[in-house]
Symmetry: C2
Subunit: 504 residues, 2 copies
């Protein structure tokens, strides 16, 4: 037993070093996005690369494999729910994946990704798809190579999807998406047949400092802990974690669009509260982060959409918002404001899309990814295929590739495959989890209308946050809801909310 | 030759990795002082420790020693001034030092230092020397051990002084300090016999943002490059470098003391311009930073004291300062303001001391360090010895240890010995270098009076900054001034400036 303790401690120490090195890299990346002067860029690339390389070397060290082998009988002797069993299980899973990819490939992959990203940042404003096309072709080739380090798949996208959303495959995602689409398309048609909501009240001038202050007040009430986090401004909003005690978010403010900072703040606060809520004893271990892309997104969507785009929320907070912006909002009714922040429209940009059409944007990307990986869609034909998909699924066509296939960073950041399904899985799960929270605490709805969030936050912490990556996404969903992924609560949520809004 | 090239490249690559890891640690440390929420502290300590450890391991790798051995004949074949020769020379010097200290000792040393620092932050506000006494005793013991890894010294402080100010020893510093003291003590006596200057004009209310704006305007004119740096607020001002393209400074603002932010800003900008001015081809090599504590301090003092506390400087900038703070300064004459920012007084706190008395504070600390290391002063007697030294050398006694031996972090940050001499060496050198600049460009004085600094900045860059650590401090001083360290220009500078101010 002493020997086992020693080995377990050694495994934990090694994983803590890996975690700390990765966190150091995250600090450098955060600084790069927030405060770094332009002159710091070349060195910063090098500094982040070496941290990543050393963390990877330490993680795939054969000594880690040996420790895992030696500890397996001990893990098997423990109850499945034991934290040490979960630690060994999760480390084994990641280790087996990581050791399948040769370090030389990984180095080339990251270098190519950084280069492709750089070229995309220039090609996008220039609307020049041709400029990135050869790089994207290499990205596709390397994404296929990456998948092929994991032979035995049904669909070549499966290993890539599995990285982000463990347990999902192309086939299972396609099935869920097709069921969802059947419900969404008629809903979008019915709503967009009506006159569009007037959201001009959001497009007035709103001073930045007041916007930030209001957003911070809201997420502090949600339960985001500013003693263990902070908010800064960046070009694109994100959440990042340096430890369970330091989980930061960023936002982007548009002084002529009130929705931008506000909803990106509540969105990122959801990601951050998930990370802040992980059991502190998991600190700097493979269990210390959210368990999958989909589950992570479910937590951001819960606070962004289900809570902060709901009518009860604004029944409480709208008077306060009016007090903050009296000139702009004193003559705008709650009803007008509520309709404005939930305006449904056929649009071109995923990140600006409303709750109802959002998933159609995701599904288009997911399907295009699969086709590229399958080889049925060549990179050179991507812009045309993109426009065709938008025409057929959303009913509009982008005037250029800037608002078409050049809009999202994901593929240009180095990977095709597994990059998008998490967004829609997250939307589905947000409603599925929330329905369970309401079952346990029907008072949550009323409390939201009183600006109180402790019951909801505590339920999420007790049922989801605290577990970090102890359970895989499928395990967690089963534990929390008693069944697998299910679109019914999400459809029900959308029908109820938009049925009332559009009197369907 | 191909083989030599390979080895040289390998040495450079290894040193770049070490440099990049140390820079990553510096980013984490900067973040800790600027933006990190309180909850991030425990993990941050771990993260910085592992970065430091890996950088050290990579630096003392025997393969580095082998490369240096193999490259020695090549280095010997090069002219002394060749950059590669200097790189090999500087790396060899650091390598030989670093490999003499066992990693296990170093780990314990850093751990103790972090602990002692932590206890000091609590003991200082509580005026509780007894609380840190046992830790300081261990610090003294470890400082002696550290010195003893470098046997053959004349004085046990020599190796510790050599770390910071290569080429200096206890005896040589003592000699310089004693010569300087002979000149300073009567000067202080003469000045303080007169009525003290009235500095009440600096103690009005000055809004923070205006103070920061003014300071930034000034250092931008000096030549500090904000595209390769930035300024943030911290508890204690400092300069830090993440690459030659990213050299940051911090300041501390007191709204009731105009001098605080302004002069800490010009001070840190001097450190930072030195680092920004290093030859870009030295990036992430052992040559890429300032060459010694003393030379570094000389650059901060040049801009803080010689430039921004001079009359010509304020002849140009005072009208602008009055425009910035009209309510506070419209009725204050340039003469009153100039006397206020150069007020000489017997005081207790080193960091608040004026140019004339400052070095007395440093000399007291230097002498106490030597006595502690020699064993002629026990830690338990330090508070008494401190008060006695202040009484005899400065003429006043602190009411408590807070304003006595608990005031400076240095000893409590983990080392006794070599911590203070650089401040006074820097003051001496600032005048010695500046005299050379004036010899080459007598127009510099007039230009300062016109708010122009390019001639001075360019001269410093060409003669000091660009070389980074290519030359040791003694070599650099010899190159720039044609002789060794010399107090005469500094004494002359003080006599001229304060002679005029106090009509001596």
């Amino acid at each position: 037993m002493v020997k086992t303790d020693d080995k377990l401690n050694e495994l934990k120490t090694r994983m803590q070093e890996v975690g700390d090195l990765n966190s150091a890299g995250a600090v450098l990346s955060w600084d790069q996005s927030t405060y770094m002067p332009a002159g710091g860029a070349p060195a910063r690339g090098r500094q982040m690369a070496i941290l990543g390389r050393i963390a990877q070397e330490k993680f795939i060290d054969p000594a880690v494999g040996k420790l895992l082998d030696d500890l397996q009988p001990y893990a098997d002797s423990l109850p499945y729910d034991d934290d040490n069993a979960a630690l060994i299980r999760a480390t084994r899973r990641s280790y087996d994946k990581a050791t399948k990819v040769p370090p030389a490939f990984l180095a080339e992959y990251y270098e190519h990704a950084a280069h492709a990203y750089q070229v995309w940042t220039e090609a996008r404003p220039a609307n020049d798809f041709k400029k990135v096309q050869p790089l994207l072709e290499k990205t596709l080739d390397m994404s296929r190579q990456l998948a092929n380090f994991f032979p035995g798949y049904e669909h070549i996208a499966d290993p890539l999807i599995d990285f982000a959303d463990y347990g999902m495959k192309a086939a299972s995602v396609r099935k869920v998406f097709s069921e969802l689409r059947e419900q969404l398309v008629p809903l979008v048609q019915t709503i967009t047949a009506q006159a569009a909501a007037d959201d001009s009240c959001l497009k007035q001038h709103f001073p930045e400092d007041k916007q930030l202050e209001f957003g911070r007040m809201v997420i502090q009430k949600f339960g985001y802990d500013f003693n263990r986090g902070r908010q800064d401004k960046t070009h694109h909003p994100f959440e990042t974690k340096f430890s369970i005690g330091d989980v930061r978010i960023t936002t982007r403010v548009k002084e002529n669009d009130l929705g931008e900072a506000l909803f990106s703040t509540t969105h990122e606060s959801g990601h951050a509260m998930y990370e802040q809520g992980v059991d502190p004893s998991y600190e700097a271990s493979p269990l210390d982060g959210g368990t999958s892309a989909g589950v992570h997104e479910s937590q951001s969507r819960t606070w962004e959409n289900i809570v902060s785009r709901s009518r009860p929320f604004w029944e409480h907070f709208y008077p306060e918002l009016q007090k903050t912006f009296p000139k702009q909002l004193d003559k705008v009714s709650l009803d007008t404001f509520y309709r404005a922040i939930n305006k449904v429209q056929r649009s071109l940009i995923r990140t600006d899309a409303d709750e109802v059409t959002y998933n159609l944007h995701v599904m288009i990307r997911f399907e295009l990814e699969l086709q590229m990986l399958e080889g049925t869609l060549a990179i050179k034909d991507l812009p045309k295929a993109w426009h065709a998909a938008y025409k057929s699924d959303i009913g509009i066509t982008a005037p250029s590739d800037v608002d078409g296939c050049l809009q999202d960073v994901h593929w240009f950041g180095g990977q095709i495959g597994g990059m998008f399904q998490g967004y829609t899985l997250g939307n589905i799960l947000s409603a599925q989890f929330y329905a369970e929270a309401l079952k346990a605490h029907p008072e949550i709805k009323k409390e939201i209308g009183q600006g109180k969030f402790e019951t909801l936050h505590t339920w999420l912490k007790d049922n989801i946050y605290r577990y970090g990556s102890k359970y895989t996404a499928p395990e967690l969903i089963e534990r929390v809801t008693g069944r697998g992924l299910d679109i019914a609560p999400y459809i029900q949520y959308l029908r109820a909310k938009y049925g009332e809004l559009y009197k369907l």
